[in-house]
Symmetry: D2
Amino acid sequence: MLNVGIVGATGYAGEQLVWILQNHPEVQVKFYSSHNYANVQFSDVYSNYFGFINDKCINIEEAENRLSEIDVLFIALPHGKAFKLTKRALEIGIKVIDLGADFRLKSEENYEAWYGLKHEFTASLESAVYGLTELKRKEIKKCNLLANPGCYPTATILALAPLLHNNLIFTDSIIIDAKSGVSGAGRAAVIGSLFTECNESIKAYGVTTHRHTPEIEQELSVISNSNIVVSFTPHLVPMNRGILSTCYGNLKTSLNTKDILEIYKDFYKEEYFVKIIEGIPETKWVKGSNLCHIGLRVDERTNRVIVVSAIDNLIKGAAGQAVQNMNVMFGINETMGLEFIAMAP
Amino acid sequence: MLNVGIVGATGYAGEQLVWILQNHPEVQVKFYSSHNYANVQFSDVYSNYFGFINDKCINIEEAENRLSEIDVLFIALPHGKAFKLTKRALEIGIKVIDLGADFRLKSEENYEAWYGLKHEFTASLESAVYGLTELKRKEIKKCNLLANPGCYPTATILALAPLLHNNLIFTDSIIIDAKSGVSGAGRAAVIGSLFTECNESIKAYGVTTHRHTPEIEQELSVISNSNIVVSFTPHLVPMNRGILSTCYGNLKTSLNTKDILEIYKDFYKEEYFVKIIEGIPETKWVKGSNLCHIGLRVDERTNRVIVVSAIDNLIKGAAGQAVQNMNVMFGINETMGLEFIAMAP
Amino acid sequence: MLNVGIVGATGYAGEQLVWILQNHPEVQVKFYSSHNYANVQFSDVYSNYFGFINDKCINIEEAENRLSEIDVLFIALPHGKAFKLTKRALEIGIKVIDLGADFRLKSEENYEAWYGLKHEFTASLESAVYGLTELKRKEIKKCNLLANPGCYPTATILALAPLLHNNLIFTDSIIIDAKSGVSGAGRAAVIGSLFTECNESIKAYGVTTHRHTPEIEQELSVISNSNIVVSFTPHLVPMNRGILSTCYGNLKTSLNTKDILEIYKDFYKEEYFVKIIEGIPETKWVKGSNLCHIGLRVDERTNRVIVVSAIDNLIKGAAGQAVQNMNVMFGINETMGLEFIAMAP
Amino acid sequence: MLNVGIVGATGYAGEQLVWILQNHPEVQVKFYSSHNYANVQFSDVYSNYFGFINDKCINIEEAENRLSEIDVLFIALPHGKAFKLTKRALEIGIKVIDLGADFRLKSEENYEAWYGLKHEFTASLESAVYGLTELKRKEIKKCNLLANPGCYPTATILALAPLLHNNLIFTDSIIIDAKSGVSGAGRAAVIGSLFTECNESIKAYGVTTHRHTPEIEQELSVISNSNIVVSFTPHLVPMNRGILSTCYGNLKTSLNTKDILEIYKDFYKEEYFVKIIEGIPETKWVKGSNLCHIGLRVDERTNRVIVVSAIDNLIKGAAGQAVQNMNVMFGINETMGLEFIAMAP
């Protein structure tokens, strides 16, 4: 039985961790930490837990004091908020899974350029593992500090990896047009996230400047063994959950849809959570699951390939992948606690 | 291990049965029957099952031929469609759980008046058990034909039972103003259920004529040992899932909110799936779970009590309660396969 | 040509005033005042006005200084924020239309009890007119301070007025179960109004305590010439706009649906904005219009009448009715600038 | 005063025509024709017109018989349904505005390849004008048969025209990733358009095969005086209205965002309905209006330009542009009846 602590438990990613771990047979949650709701009963914030979780949230200082009770610490905080806690936990031998952005980029310069913030724990950057489980399983097994991927990068890297691994597209031709539900914006009280501001509308945002760009580029570059720069445009969609990533690349040779589907099926043939489908993904078929659906078409008129992937941004794009990584890190069956199917409708 | 057959597996209630049974440790589904999708792979209708369920749907005749493979038959068809199949299954000793309306009303006249249809298996009406699990556990244990309650009645009867059981309100004062998500209308291709027709609007429908009325009255009458007639007004809300039932009654004596909350907590103190909360329910806190949240307030200015209950119409209001009833009927732990918490947001 | 000032122009009700007045042939808006966006261009807050309105918002002090430019002042602020400004405007002979709650209740005690706030301009309470246009046209014509009704009261009073005017129901039997879109909560950055908190859920709120209750009771009491107390339960529905009010009353005599429909048609026969329909209202058919649709059914089994009314909460429930009142106050054709039909879908 | 007939009046585009023409000062609608609702009162299909339009719908044969009453015929039918009616109307000197696809493509072969249907009025293809008003005003003035553009093409061509007109991008680099509300699918009773199937999900559809592709390519080719082939991927978004088109192109030279914004502002400087904004468009700011908002960014890291345009698919993408074209065809002020601002929220 693993003892677990969650910091940032009342944000949406944090709550999803609670949701998953509540039914994980090998986990016991020892504490729930929350900046805004310290000393408030967790089930007063999320009433779905009424009668199931009676704990009060603790603050981050108390969380630090109780590190000795746990084997692994999940951190679901905004970037820049947990350098100290992470360092402390690692020092005393506790594994850390960070759902935030602080340890995803290998380059300190890149971090500071895109996040506008000095990195305060650069010593960790080399050993931290970027935890896209399907692509990094070996490293994850041995790591102590796991940087859980962003939601857009998870959907996008899984969609593009087989193309780049097999050297099928021109690396300077990649365009990623991604769409996310509103939970991706977190549980912050801002005008832009109000129901009345998001409902019945779609917009692009962060055009050319979104912080998930360098993370996507870093990992695609590793896969292709080249220096990849992409155009990445995220959009906000009026739904709670889900990411759809529509990825475009120019094919180097003339392949048809069927050819490339075979390559994808082969690439992911051992994977439980990645499904290559004949059709085109819809987010509803993965909502509430840890799955990633991938479909594709070759546009023979332009010799482009269009790959579409769908995930639940809060699960495979955050808490689910974090638990998947925990399972790998601790030698537990990788799918344990994650074998639920999308809830439709 | 129970062997199970599902008829009407591609409707929303049927699909929810699949969703729940897929993870039920004591169940194996032997066949999925569907009128519209006979011979189509189940996962081609519901892609969330891609890679998990490879069966093709069969038609109802084939289902009848394969009754011998199963211990229990779930029927999730529109009313009037399964008289013959039910009779056949019972004859050969298979327990039947009907999610439709055909066996809910004890009175043949009532059935024919509200459903405009001749009942073709009246011999079963006496022995069929109305399966509101929390109120009928004893009878359910022994029954062979279980009439699974409607969604509105489930929410409403649970909300009002403690008041009537304790004789606290005037029985002619009951008004039920209920609200449902669109999945309650089923998966039929009709103009009125189109996204563009339902979204950004709320309406009342079936005012004074909704078929769940006699079912509510029948069961409330049993509880109060009197002949209860209610006003029941359902509304359609632009969301996929959830029912909120707002129930009004005039108190016989002067009780305050706290008094009545205590009575409710006591009434449901042994129940896993019914939670009495201090606040007022919201459907999101039960969405995706088999729970019913109940909250209430006494309006001291009018001496009315206002009880609000929330369920997921497809789970506690349909498939979840059906599985709960199956567990009871077969002596399995009542909560097995149903211990999931609402998915928020 | 009327010169108009708007205070609170960047809230949702304020913005709707702008939307309507922009196309009103007899109106020129002289200033837009906003607490949060003073000195910001109005079209930077609401980009739909880009290229149409180039004004910057001013603050409330500047608005006060520019009162002399205008004939009528619209105030769309939270309660308690405009006592001083109202007084000042009236002193210098400018008519005031207040979309807030400060001048709706005739009783100072009632105001202070329900709003928890001392009323700072009680001298105005007697002369202020409660502007439910259809019922108060004569008084509105002559008034200087118009208290524009709340959204729920507008829908509800219009629904119940014919019953009470004709003494058809027991006055102690009235139950109002109302449902509103999220714009009713205003444009405030609070967690409870986030997309992810409201979407895919319905809840009751302010049960027995909502501030629109005394306003409804005051006006129904006037109509019935008795002292009416009601049960009023508002609900939050995941849609931007619209209020549906479902009203219940016990009939004194035995009337059928047709009888009462005739009474309603007669009562509203001269009204452009109130339509008595044979069916049951849906908010989508009034969304974006100043109309109120009313439908009803007699429940002969219980001898109750169920009246359902639908309005757009931001138009007939706020800005539209305010402009309708302005038209009446200034002797302009009552429907001018308001003759638009609901936008569907 | 123009006399107008509408065929296909009960589809969403048809209803929008009614909505706009109802308030157009120079128009009188003589008949409403509907296949599914012939002989039904129009306001029984769309209750927002209750009390405003008392006409019954007629069928298409009756419409043909009454052509002599009108000056202009709007056709809002699925493709392939109005060849005969169009021919007949033109023969007797009535101008036709077709909101369908039958006369948009100049090439008969193209039509038959993409629509899988024989064109039955090829004689008209040369003289028919593709009515993207801002780009074809001169031809529209003189035409008798106007092919009203598709919704996606309207948004997309307006977004890309300045780039191609000024020869700024490589013509083989164009990728269009577009997103539409569900009303784009029309008012057909199909499973895929159900609330429960569309809500809380986003999907791509028609990948590489959508019928708006040749229309976009035809018009972009005209502007650039070259043969353009594009990748076009539409997506379905859970909202009623709105199209957002995100367009990507590789710049031929090094220009920055400001440079290109100036080119756009200049290109559209005389246009009332096209607004170049500094920010990035959201569909909510044009919903309910005939406007097109365009914003853009240069991605200096990849030397791509990303242009985003937003329209209301039912107005500028259908009925609004049709009326705009009618105004031009009949020498009426182009903006008449179309000067309404987006309804927010």
